[in-house]
């Protein structure tokens, strides 16, 4: 590995380069020429994965604002997996909905660059830049179906509210800078600890504004209003990408800022996040019960999962930090799989995401029904899937810090969530199919991607040791 000050950004460079090449390829493509643009994206993502692998344990730093510590690299791995699965599953959507492949993949890759930077940045301003890079690309992806009103509406809503949240975030950074004179996370922590600023109103205000910014990005209650609309309007596979990638990146930055930078005043912010986590779990599951659209249902389920992740953040102990990483990996595979199934069953005219569309799916698409069931069981936290180990891990962290109440709210809300996951299973297995057109055949490669993520979910559920070990290594270097 060449050593230099660029080391820490190599994964991002790989993805950026791939994004630029994709854009060029699209520009020089003949009108009807077909190009394997997705392949370019895959190469870039694999490059990022390999680079992250070689950077493991190196703790490389670039520009004093980006670090390649194991925590960030773990997030990189998750993002690479999210990216690869999304690219493979997207191929069918792009062809079916006649999306501009070049723009689509380029935006996706740029979003991933932003996400990676969020996980690796050690400076509040860089985190903000990363947040914007990611968000703008994701706004575009949300509205990429320009011929659909719903898609544009979703993108517009997302953009307006997102811009608001970003400004809150920036305002928060300004307050923290005003008091401590730094935006570097490490120095922030020392400054707060040294002057024992816990309880200082300016700091509290800044912290609160940061919480709003992050809570918006991970769709935590009460800043979750945008997400069901955006999730429903976006193409299904993009929804899967948003709900896993954006969440992973935002949580990563959230953890780094709060458990490293603002750790000295954990007693001040933990109660706030406790309430947000509890409300997020409850609202996400309870409102999810009332949904009849699968995408909205899973949107609320994603909200609830954000709440479980926040429970790990509230716990604030080592178990919690590692649990968050493990949870992100498990959740990414599972949720992307579920949205992948929805995406494959969609058609150009409509997303086919109504509960009724799934009636009797078992008889027409036994394989997809089985995969979907598997992902739903994992989302519901049943053994032997990744979702179970992840939930156990997070609640274990909460209990370890004495937050029994939060753990109990968590497990009970997961029972409620099982109710609506099972509604889908009931539709697929226990209801007869009415005369609805059966969607086009499923491309083998997308199916293969779903099977891979199913195997991943099973692996994390049955033999989680290796990944737990990685997660523990990831947090040991920085916190």
């Amino acid at each position: 590995m060449i050593s230099g000050q660029f080391d820490a950004v190599i994964p991002m460079l790989c993805v950026t380069l791939a994004g630029l090449v994709v854009l060029l390829a699209e520009a020089f493509r003949g009108r009807d020429e077909r190009m394997p643009i997705g392949g370019l994206a895959v190469i870039g993502l694999l490059g990022a994965g390999v680079a992250s692998y070689f950077l493991w344990d190196s703790n490389a730093e670039s520009f004093g604002a980006v670090t390649a510590d194991n925590f960030g690299l773990f997030i990189n791995f998750v993002l690479v997996i999210v990216g690869l699965l999304t690219v493979v599953i997207s191929s069918q959507t792009i062809e079916r909905d006649r999306l501009p492949a070049g723009e689509y993949y380029a935006m996706m890759l740029f979003a991933i660059v932003g996400m990676m930077l969020m996980g690796q940045a050690t400076d509040l301003l860089v985190i903000f830049l990363a947040l914007e890079t990611m968000s703008i690309a994701v706004y575009v992806l949300t509205g990429i179906r320009r011929d659909q009103q719903q898609s544009s509406e979703a993108a517009f809503k997302y953009f307006l509210l997102g811009a608001f949240a970003s400004s809150f975030f920036l305002y928060g950074i300004a307050f923290l800078y005003g008091v401590t004179g730094t935006t570097n996370i490490e120095r922030l922590s020392t400054a707060i600890a040294a002057q024992s600023m816990s309880g200082n109103p300016m700091i509290m205000l800044g912290t609160g504004l940061l919480i709003i910014g992050f809570a918006f990005k991970i769709a935590a209650v009460p800043f979750h209003m945008w997400s069901p609309d955006a999730y429903e309007g976006a193409p299904s596979v993009v929804t899967g990408f948003m709900s896993t990638g954006v969440k992973a990146a935002a949580i990563a930055a959230f953890v780094r800022v709060f458990l490293k930078g603002l750790d000295p005043m954990i007693a001040d912010w933990a109660p706030i996040i406790w309430w947000i986590a509890a409300a997020t779990m409850i609202v996400g599951t309870v409102v999810g019960v009332a949904q009849t659209s699968l995408k909205r249902m899973l949107a609320y389920s994603s909200i609830a999962h954000g709440g479980y992740l926040l429970a790990g953040l509230v716990a604030g102990n080592d178990v919690g930090k590692a649990a968050i990483l493990f949870y992100l990996a498990a959740y990414a595979l599972t949720n992307l799989g579920a949205f992948g199934v929805i995406s494959l069953l969609g058609s150009r005219e409509r997303a086919n995401d109504d509960l009724r569309d799934y009636a009797g799916l078992w008889h027409t698409h036994p394989g997809l029904a089985m995969l979907m069931t598997f992902f739903l069981l994992s989302l519901g936290g049943f053994p032997p899937t990744a979702g179970f180990i992840a939930k156990w891990y997070v609640f274990s962290a909460a209990v370890g810090s004495g937050y029994y109440g939060l753990a109990i709210i968590g497990v009970l809300s997961s029972v409620v969530s099982v109710f609506f996951y099972l509604r889908i299973v009931v539709m697929m297995y226990m209801t007869d199919r009415d005369a609805r057109p059966i969607p086009a055949p499923i491309p083998a490669i997308a199916m293969a991607a779903l099977i891979v993520s199913m195997l991943g979910v099973l692996y994390l559920g049955v033999l989680p040791t290796r990944v737990i070990e990685l997660a523990q290594q990831s947090i040991s270097t920085i916190f």
Binding site: F382, P383, W392
Partner: protein, 536 residues
């Protein structure tokens, strides 16, 4: 070379994987799938019998222990082993699964492959529940059991199957998740006390948990278990699930799954939290007495045979909890025995009701009558099973209820007086049903010319009836292996009984009150022999 227990857990899983690659053809001719599934379950049964043969009843420790690190970071192991109690429940599971598969041989027509896969997965996870010695592993199996059962009820059940399946899974899961929090809490306590995480049951036994914490943890565990049992007032999921489930599902549900609750109480809730357990025992006993009488009364007025059997389960399982709450050797042995007996009798009852419903597609008592003249063999089988369920001396039901009442009487006679009503009522509702269905003239023309037992049905009722009689005549064969296990658990828990319950001394001021005596070693074996002597 994996040990026998791992083999018992994995054999059904291997069977179900094998089924995955066998092509599925719908229809009752789909015999390859059925035979493979039956074969896998029979081999598993054979393994449980080998375990029984190789089990050393004199050795009180856990046997056939296997241990491998699973998630070493948190001290979670793949740790299995059995004592006599688990052994008997394993044999019961192995015995009932082939019977359940046979009972669906004709009536399950659609998606036979998936049906068989779920049955085998169910068997594997139930075996796992009964031999897990790592609490985390136990919970994994415990929770997984719900999934195949949910599908069995929801896909192959009767009209209201979806409602019943969802109610079943939500109800039981709501109880289980609180247990998960309690399990996590336990491991953290262990970490704080000893510096290392552990989910090892034997290590957790040795932990001195402050009484205040015990209450919450005990409640969390116990609610999970008594929902499963199910104890009044948590029983409402059971009639729905039983009535809507396909016959095979009902057999497993009543025969094995309810026992998971009783097993959990004996293995986990009571010995882990003895102080809390002993102070909650009177409450549990009260609830179980209510369950016994209430279940019997409700069973009496059911027009639907399957529902009648379901409510009779509530009543019979009430006895199990009463025996456990008494927490003396007779009580707990009786409870364990009653679980086995109930598994056999109720499994058989569901099978026979299933046979009637296969023939007539109804389970209403009023639709039948005078079947004795039409189906004399089935009637004879039903009579044996009815008597065993009532608890006729010489049959399996008697031993369990007798021991429970004996143990209960030693502890607090008031409970037993009311519980005895349940014994009488069970004779009322079972015999009354028998009379209305089988005796008299054939009143309904549809019943004329119904075929008697087929060869397959002989293969179902034969072993069940034989087991019911054998368990009644040779109770020691079943009680003896359980004895050391039960004694050990009772010796752990009994000394924690609050002093107030020593009623004779309660009037004395604490200063002069005699110290509670150490548990008297009770000569169990002699007691038991006496019962069999009584029968002779």
């Amino acid at each position: 070379m994996p040990g026998l227990l791992t083999l018992a857990i994995t054999l059904p899983i291997i069977g179900s994987l094998l089924l995955l690659v066998i092509p599925n053809r719908d229809g009752s001719k789909d015999s390859l799938v059925r035979w493979v599934a039956l074969g896998a379950s029979l081999v598993t049964f054979a393994v449980t019998l080998v375990l029984w043969a190789g089990y050393d009843p004199a050795n009180p420790a856990f046997q056939f222990v296997e241990r491998a690190a699973w998630i070493p970071q948190f001290g979670i192991d793949y740790y299995v082993g059995i004592d006599g109690l688990s052994l008997m429940l394993l044999v019961l599971t192995g015995f009932l699964t082939p019977i359940a598969l046979l009972s669906g041989w004709v009536s399950v027509e659609k998606k036979v492959k998936e049906y068989s896969i779920f049955m085998l997965l169910l068997e594997a996870s139930m075996i796992g529940v009964f031999c897990a010695l790592d609490v985390f592993l136990f919970y994994v199996f415990w929770d997984f059991v719900l999934i195949p059962m949910y599908f069995l009820i929801g896909i192959w059940g009767y009209d209201q199957r979806i409602y019943a399946a969802i109610k079943f899974i939500l109800y039981t899961m709501a109880g289980s998740v609180l247990m998960l929090v309690a399990i996590i809490g336990l491991s953290w306590m262990h970490q704080q006390m000893t510096g290392e995480y552990s989910f090892d049951l034997l290590k957790l036994y040795d932990m001195q948990i402050p009484a205040a914490n015990q209450y919450w943890l005990f409640l969390a565990f116990t609610i999970a278990f008594i929902i499963k049992v199910p104890l009044f007032p948590f029983h409402t999921w059971l009639p729905d699930a039983h009535v809507q489930a396909p016959t095979g599902g009902s057999v497993i549900l009543a025969g094995v799954m309810l026992k998971m609750g009783g097993y959990g109480l004996i293995r986990f809730a009571f010995p882990l939290f003895p102080d809390a357990a002993m102070s909650f025992a009177p409450l549990l006993a009260t609830l179980s007495v209510i369950a016994i009488v209430y279940g019997a009364l409700v069973a009496m007025v059911q027009p639907d045979m399957k529902k009648l059997v379901a409510y009779s389960s509530v009543s019979h399982m009430g006895f199990v909890v009463l025996g456990i709450a008494a927490m003396n050797v007779q009580g707990v042995q009786g409870a364990s025995y009653q679980m086995l007996a109930h598994g056999v009798s109720t499994g058989a009852l569901f099978c026979i009701v299933g046979m009637l419903s296969d023939r007539r597609h109804t389970r209403q008592i009023a639709e039948f009558g005078g079947l004795k003249s039409v189906m004399p063999r089935l009637t004879a089988a039903m009579l044996i099973i009815t008597l065993s369920s009532i608890g006729l001396p010489g049959m399996n039901g008697f031993i369990g209820e007798f021991l429970i009442m004996l143990g209960g009487f030693k502890w607090d006679p008031r409970f037993v007086v009311i519980a005895a009503l349940g014994v009488i009522l069970s004779a009322v509702y079972m015999l009354w049903m028998f009379q209305r269905v089988f005796y008299g003239k054939v009143t309904n023309d549809h019943n004329i010319g119904l075929p008697d037992l087929s060869l397959r049905e002989w293969a179902i009722v034969g072993p069940l009836a034989a087991a019911a009689i054998a368990m009644g005549v040779f109770p020691n064969a079943f009680l003896k292996p359980m004895e050391p296990a039960v004694t050990r658990i009772v010796e752990r828990v009994e000394p924690h009984r609050p002093q107030e319950s020593i009623r004779a001394d309660a009037v004395l001021p604490p200063s002069v009150r005699p110290k509670p005596k150490p548990p008297v070693p009770i000569p169990v074996r002699r007691e038991v022999t006496r019962i069999s002597e009584v029968q002779r």
